[in-house]
Amino acid sequence: MASLSQTASFPRPRGARLMSHAGVWVTSREAFWIAVEALRAHKLRSFLTLLGVVIATTTLIVVMSIINGMNLYIADHIANLGANVFIVHQWKWAQGYEAWLKAQRRNKPIRIEEFEFLKENLQAYKSIGADASTWSDNNTARYQGHTLYDVDISGDTPSMIDIGQQKVESGRYITDSDYSHESMVCFLGRDLVDAFFPNVDPLGKEILVRGIPFRVIGFAQKIGTTFGQSQDNFIQIPLTTLRKFFSPRPSLAVSVQAWDARQMLVLEDEVRALLRARRHVPYSEDDTFGVNASETIMDTWHQVTGAIFAVTIGIVAVFMVVGGIVIMNIMLASVTERTHEIGIRKSLGARRRDILTQFVIESSMLACIGGGIGVLLALIISKIVDHFFTSTVPLSAVLAGLFLSTAVGLFFGIYPASKASKLDPIEALRTEN
C-alpha cells in the first residue's frame, strides 16, 4: 500500500549543506568572472557602482598608513629617549590641557641639588645625567662676524654623552674636570660647525656664546631633522658654567639610564619615591614633577591617533554603507536582467540556496574587486604622501580593507540574491531577455 513511506523513502537532497564544496568553488570562480565581465562591459556603470567601496577602502588604508608612518616616525624621533632612558623634568610631557594647567601651578623645577641627591641615592642605575636649556631672546652664537640666532644652548653633565642623542664626531665632550671647574668650554652641534668652520678645524677655536667667549673642545655627529626642525643646532657647555653665567637656578631634565627595560620601571618608581620624599609631597597628592618615558609620549600620541582614527571609521562607514546600497541596487537590476537565466538554472535543478549563493558570491566578488582597486589606489597615494610626509602601509590595513569591502558586498547582496532565489521558474523562463 502506498503511504507516507513512499515519500519518506525519498532521499533527502543535499539539504543541510549549502552546496557541495565543488559547487561553491565553481560558483565562486564563475561569479568572479561574471563580475569582471560585467565590470568590463559597462565601465561607467561599474565605476559608479564601486565608487563608494573604493573611496571607503582607500580612505581607510591611507589614514591607517599615515598614522602608521607617524607612529614609526614619532617612535624613532620623538619618543626615542635612548635605550632604557627616562627623563625626570618639571613637567610631564604630552599630557592633557587640564593636567597641564594644574601642573603649571604645582610643579617645581628639578634643581641641581635634587639631581645630586638622586645621583647619590638611586640604586644600581647604568647612568644618570642632567641638562638644562636656557631660553632667551638672545640665544646667539658668533664667530668672526658671523652670527647664528636661536641656537639651542644647554648646560650638560659629562655623563650626558653616554645617555643623550649626541655622539662625538671629533674632539671630546665635557669632562668631570670641566664640570667641577666651571670651564668655559663648549661642544658644538653640526649646524654650527658647518656655519662657522666650513673648511677649518673648529677644535681650540673661540666662539662667543651670548657674547661670552667659549673654547670649542669637540663637535657632534650629524643627527638630522624632526618634523623639519634641525636637531643639530645646539651648543652644550658644562651645567655648572651655565649656572654661573646664564642661569643661576636652572631647571633640569634629569636623564636616568637603566640596564634593561624591567629595571627602568623599577628605577622610575624609585625616583618618584625619592623625589616625593625629598619634596615632602603628601601621599594623597600628585607628583610635583614629571617622569617621562617613551610609553607616556606614545600613549598620548595614541590618544590623538585614536581620535583621528575614530573619525576616519565614521567616514569609512558612511562610504561603505552608501557603496553597499549602490551595489545592492545594481544587483537588483542584474537579477532582473538575468531572470531568464535564473529560470534556466532552476529548470536544471538549482535550488533556492544555489541561486542565493551564486548571487551573494557575485556581489561579494564585485565589492572585493572594489576593495582591491581601493588598495591599489591607497598604495599609490601612500607612496606620494610618503614622499612629502610619512606613510607606511601596514598589511593589517590592506586585509581590513579587503575584508570589509567583501563583507559589505555580501551583506548588501543578500536581498537581491534572496529575490532571485524566490523567482518562479516557469515565469522566469517565459521572461525574454
Partner: protein
C-alpha cells in the same frame, strides 16, 4: 480509464506497476483569477507512460499541453491529483525537492534552447552536474560523453553565439542527457529551426529512443508529433485521444 481518486485518499493509492515511468491520476491545475472565478488549465488528466516509450503530447495553443508539460517536468505542482515519476510520488513536493527531481530525473529541451549565453557548450552541459554536486573531473568526463552522443565534441569550447541553431539544440540535448534522466522532455524542440535542421534533431531523438531513452515530446505540429510512437491529444485541459502510431 483510471477511476478518479479523491485527494484525501491520495495516500492510499498504489504505486504504479513495474516499468511505468510516469503515471498521472486525475491531474487538475486551477488558477484563481479573483472574484471567485477559477480557470482550469487541466481538468482531470490521467495517463501512463512506460519506460522506453516515445510519446508526443499534442494540442492547439490553450489546450493545456504547456501546463501539462510543466507538471510532468516538475516545474509546477498540480492543484489536485497524483503524479508518480519513476516510482516516486512527486505531486506534493517542496521547492527544493522538486529541484532535486528536475536535476536527476528530467532532461529538458526547450524551443528557444535556453543555454547560458556567456558559457561554453561544455560548461552548459556541465551545469546539471554542478547542481548535483559532482566533482570536476567526473563532471567534465560525463559532459564530454554527452556531447559525443550528439556529435558535438569539436565545438565543446564554443559559446552559443558561435553555434548554429541546430548545434545549439544539440548542446541542449546533451545537457538534457548528461545526468541520465528518466525522461527527456522536449517542448517544441524544432520550433526555432528550419525544416532541414529540424529533421536532424528529430533524427537525433530517434537515435536516443533507440538507445533506450524515454522521450516525451510536446508540440502543436502534427508533422513533428508523427515522429513519436504514440500521440496523446490534449484539448481544453483534457485528454481527447490516445493513439499509437508507428
Amino acid at each position: 480509464m483510471a477511476t478518479p481518486v479523491a485527494s484525501s485518499a491520495m495516500r492510499e493509492t498504489p504505486p504504479p506497476r513495474d516499468g511505468v515511468i510516469i503515471k498521472t491520476e486525475d491531474l487538475w491545475k486551477t488558477y484563481d483569477m479573483g472574484a471567485a472565478i477559477q480557470v482550469h488549465a487541466l481538468s482531470g488528466v490521467s495517463f501512463e507512460i512506460e519506460r522506453g516509450e516515445y510519446v508526443a503530447i499534442m494540442g492547439p495553443s490553450g489546450s493545456g499541453k504547456s501546463t501539462l508539460m510543466n507538471l510532468i517536468g516538475c516545474l509546477d505542482t498540480p492543484t489536485r491529483g497524483i503524479y508518480w515519476l519513476n516510482a516516486r510520488l512527486v505531486s506534493e513536493l517542496s521547492d527544493d525537492e522538486l529541484a532535486y527531481i528536475r536535476n536527476k530525473e528530467i532532461g529538458f529541451v526547450f524551443q528557444t534552447f535556453n543555454l547560458l549565453s556567456r558559457a561554453s557548450a561544455l560548461h552548459n552541459v556541465e551545469l546539471p552536474l554542478i547542481y548535483s554536486g559532482m566533482p570536476a573531473t567526473e563532471r567534465l568526463e560525463k559532459a564530454e560523453d554527452a556531447l559525443r552522443k550528439v556529435d558535438l565534441t569539436d565545438r565543446m569550447h564554443h559559446k552559443p553565439n558561435e553555434l548554429s541553431g541546430g548545434q545549439r539544440q544539440r548542446v541542449a540535448v546533451a545537457r538534457a542527457l548528461v545526468n541520465n534522466p528518466s525522461i527527456i522532455l522536449a517542448d517544441e524542440p524544432t520550433g526555432n529551426l528550419d525544416s532541414a535542421t529540424g529533421e536532424e534533431i528529430m533524427a537525433l531523438f530517434e537515435r536516443l529512443h533507440q538507445s533506450g531513452n524515454t522521450i516525451v515530446l510536446v508540440t502543436h505540429e502534427h508533422d513533428i508529433a508523427a515522429h513519436a510512437h504514440r500521440i496523446i491529444h490534449v484539448r481544453d485541459g483534457r485528454i481527447e485521444r490516445d493513439e499509437r502510431v508507428e
